[in-house]
Point group: D2
Chain length 356, copies 4
Amino acid sequence: MNGRLNVAVIGAGYWGPNLARNLRASRECNLAAICDLDIDRARRVADAVGGAPVTADLQSVLADPLIDAVAVATPARTHHAIVMAALDAGKHVMVEKPLADTQERGAEMVRRAAERGLVLMADHTYCYTPAVLKMRDLVASGELGDILFVDSVRINLGLIQPDVDVFWDLAPHDLSIMDFVLPGGLQATSVSAHGSDPLNTGKSCIGYLAMPLECGAMAHVHVNWLSPTKIRRMVIGGTRRTLVWDDLNPQQRLSVYDRGVDIAAVSKATAPDRRAANISYRLGDTWAPALEEREALSAVVSEFAASVREKRASRTSGAAGLRVLSVLDAAAGSLAAFGAPHPLAQPRRTEAEVAA
Amino acid sequence: MNGRLNVAVIGAGYWGPNLARNLRASRECNLAAICDLDIDRARRVADAVGGAPVTADLQSVLADPLIDAVAVATPARTHHAIVMAALDAGKHVMVEKPLADTQERGAEMVRRAAERGLVLMADHTYCYTPAVLKMRDLVASGELGDILFVDSVRINLGLIQPDVDVFWDLAPHDLSIMDFVLPGGLQATSVSAHGSDPLNTGKSCIGYLAMPLECGAMAHVHVNWLSPTKIRRMVIGGTRRTLVWDDLNPQQRLSVYDRGVDIAAVSKATAPDRRAANISYRLGDTWAPALEEREALSAVVSEFAASVREKRASRTSGAAGLRVLSVLDAAAGSLAAFGAPHPLAQPRRTEAEVAA
Amino acid sequence: MNGRLNVAVIGAGYWGPNLARNLRASRECNLAAICDLDIDRARRVADAVGGAPVTADLQSVLADPLIDAVAVATPARTHHAIVMAALDAGKHVMVEKPLADTQERGAEMVRRAAERGLVLMADHTYCYTPAVLKMRDLVASGELGDILFVDSVRINLGLIQPDVDVFWDLAPHDLSIMDFVLPGGLQATSVSAHGSDPLNTGKSCIGYLAMPLECGAMAHVHVNWLSPTKIRRMVIGGTRRTLVWDDLNPQQRLSVYDRGVDIAAVSKATAPDRRAANISYRLGDTWAPALEEREALSAVVSEFAASVREKRASRTSGAAGLRVLSVLDAAAGSLAAFGAPHPLAQPRRTEAEVAA
Amino acid sequence: MNGRLNVAVIGAGYWGPNLARNLRASRECNLAAICDLDIDRARRVADAVGGAPVTADLQSVLADPLIDAVAVATPARTHHAIVMAALDAGKHVMVEKPLADTQERGAEMVRRAAERGLVLMADHTYCYTPAVLKMRDLVASGELGDILFVDSVRINLGLIQPDVDVFWDLAPHDLSIMDFVLPGGLQATSVSAHGSDPLNTGKSCIGYLAMPLECGAMAHVHVNWLSPTKIRRMVIGGTRRTLVWDDLNPQQRLSVYDRGVDIAAVSKATAPDRRAANISYRLGDTWAPALEEREALSAVVSEFAASVREKRASRTSGAAGLRVLSVLDAAAGSLAAFGAPHPLAQPRRTEAEVAA
């Protein structure tokens, strides 16, 4: 051992190769093994990164005392079993989104990690892109003022997934970003979900989520597998500035607009009618901060290593993954009630999270 | 009289001057008078079009036997009284959107016009733009196949209206276009409305409408007064093609995408599991039909004259305006129920409409 | 007379109605007459602005002692005769671009105005748009640093003019803007013009101008009547910042990029080889200044009135118009020499101009 | 040996790894060796593709009878020596653009390959992108009609190269594409080059090329290392249609516009004045053909293998590379003459090329 974190990748499908490549390139981690039931697949991934031990046997990975941690990139329905076993074996864990396939299972994973004093990190990759990190900074610094609304659109002609609907496939991106960027995390008070399955595939292919937030703002997500054009765009409106993130415009991903509506504070005594409030419009400059071009997953790997080393919660901890699950669960409840709002009691950010 | 339709403009505020200008330029109409309580305002509008009789007295207009019709461009809350009086005076009527300020009043107007055998036309101006006319043709001809979804976004930094919320201000555009373009009109089975008033203005400044349609498709509208950027974009997804209307891209307002998901028809016997259905993806060409650049309001005026002359319903008749009102009313009901879906029984297109 | 400048519009074709409308709306001018050989055309323009005296007789306009000035919007080949007559009659003159149809005639007009102590203003309308005024300010304030290059593209499917080629039709816009924005005016040392007439219309329909400037920068213009898409874009590169003006993007017409190449100053002694110079790259923020939406021609009219009142050169004086003509004349010389560079000795900005 | 073409990669710098990766993935080629003076660099490239023989000794590669061909990705100034040696050793050769650092050396390479009966292919990678292949098809099929003009812009904040100017660095892309797409190849009759070095780097950082073509059309190229924004756009105007290739718009890279100017054919007898010709405008539909997303370099490798197997010229043969060099050489001549047009006698496409 060389002071680096020894990490095994579990799952060599779509995302595993990216994890393996970034672990291999990391100075803080050591790619200790690649594990997949399909040993040939594991071997191909190992070859592509210049070689690494491979195995089809998860137990041998968990039993290996030289392995400190696992990065799990298997289908969501298998997360709970694998992660619980890994935690019980004393391994730190990073899990691909979504954290689990139900809120209940996710909650159990978070509790177990806490009991064992182990790091459980959600691999919310987008949160580590230069654009989203900048968004978080802008919100935290008060640059936008109070948040008024968040609107996210993520649509594309997408692969219809065999086992999950469009909410579970795409919305975790939007929800985890909102959770990361908003000062108190994603504190929805209810969720109204509207889904549509016009091709009769057995699951929603088009989805809308409306979520009043505790702070009084409205959050909304539109996800869609049937759009012929691709849009990945989030707007965060604030009292002072409004931010637009257009992820498909590499020349100007982030724009901060000093444009908006100002309502002069008027005392109730002098102006009992809110309509009399003095409304004015700002039409100020636009500013597009420079962003480095950097692969987010390398920052994910760094954060995982740092949170283990510093014995602290990750910036996208299991608790964050759990808040995403609770929204998805509430959305399923709303869908079952034909779109009626489903109440939600989001746990506040933990002290450990705030400190991260 | 010269065979032209003699039309008086009622209301010389924001929209009246446009009506006056187009009536003046029309070969089928004659601008017979401009009527406004503020006679100076009426006079300014008359001057700008090279002169026309002006009056502040609506009764004198309605009493004038040489006047065949009125075009009403007053605030929505006054539509009912003015239109009922005009119909009772035997005048054909064209009304600015929305038709009335409640569905009930709108219904009364529609009934009265029918009883009197007079034309009642909704001035749904957007429906007469070359882009929307083309959209209607494409849908009607089966070019898109069956409709799967309709998604409309109309956001901008907009004037916060003193008397109406963002739904009543902006959504009539989207709803009237959907009603015009969809084969059976806008046949929503329920409406879920999510509004937000983060600036505490006393009314929704951000709004979302989710509307399952009778045909099985989902319609959705996003209207917003607080967006720093301007978007006017409607997507109509079909089984064969998907259409995107981007009204702010004059170089390519309309794009028809031969891209989508194909699901092979599989009999229940051989494939009881819908998931086993054979899914494939089309990634075909895009086609952008040429559109003339023409002012929609001149076509509105022509249609009004033609429907009077031919004693037929207008292409955007009172019944169409009424369907828009019924959605807005249902939206208000949903808003009052914190976003719960509000059921809706839309009347079918009348025979007179279908013939138009 | 009411202290306003009494201005007659000469020419009621394409541009004259705009002049008439803005003169009528101005507080500093009085629309004194509209003169056109086609008296009916003059009358239609007068009607559209609420009435004005009309005449087909230029001499009567020039003889009228109550008329202080004329705004000339006739074909370019008639400018010289009309303007000389107006100056000789003691009238101040504003002329549509181009100032004249040859440099020689333009020079005579400029001399005559100077001799008579009258204002001769070039109606370089673009220079009075909020975007171009801002560009001038940014350059003047040193925000961009030293100017390195100017590249302008103005292409569209355009009307093929009967009497002028694409250089004379479109390039005056680009050249007058460059002249207005660059600190010393457009000081080209030579012009290379490359034209093409692939449809055999008898004149260039596609044109390129390359102009080394005295300051060491390169200016380039691309004008084209045969492009199916429309582009109006000017880039001004500086040592500190680079500015992009995209006139067809109303949401962000002007962008100022803090991006570029920095070359460390190295003394010749220590680094005789320029290749050894220390090159680094800046990838800073982008900034899009807010611009009002305002009609440029009203500012043109104001400037005309102000320069007469203050007895000073206009910001776009006859001398500016003359510099544009001298480039167009040199371009014609280069075209005749199959693109060989045609030398040019641009007069410096006059003191009167600098003071404007 | 397994029937595949055994290819050694010469040069493991910027482009070599891409060649190695695509040769390794090819079914028609075998990656036989990687050769670089810096053996460590060669080894790293070999590792990244799963291993391959490496050497620092070019002679041993050329002497190896099992090696059929070499792919050269070394600096341009070394191409001539390496390629001549390879041809003399009986190897087929593919060379990164530009073919050589002067036209004369390139011509010698082409002659030698012909004498030896070996394939000499220019790796004009862009020509094998789906977009450019489609462009070639559209032109060849007559879809565009006769070509009227070609305008290419390739600008970006680019690395200032130590040994070549912006013409030699970037224009080979535009020129090789034009040569590939135009029916007779790039048949310029002269070249006017305008360069600018405003930062005093010792070479042009901004460049313009104007090239009248034999067919009567005008070709123009704008290359620029100092632009803060990135544009890669080529327009090919024809009498029937005009094509726009916007390589940075993945959603619609290629647009074919049925827009343009039509000039009715008029006999000289009836209309001696060309101005009297009957001009009309087409404003038809736009069509964006679907394009696969595929790596061009894999098609390059296939074409190399196919041309060797079929003993024929490559679609981008040495002769094509030579035509690019002749334009660059002429451009250097024009630059030295301050932009005066430099005449050029382009050899016609060879029969072997036409057959390819």
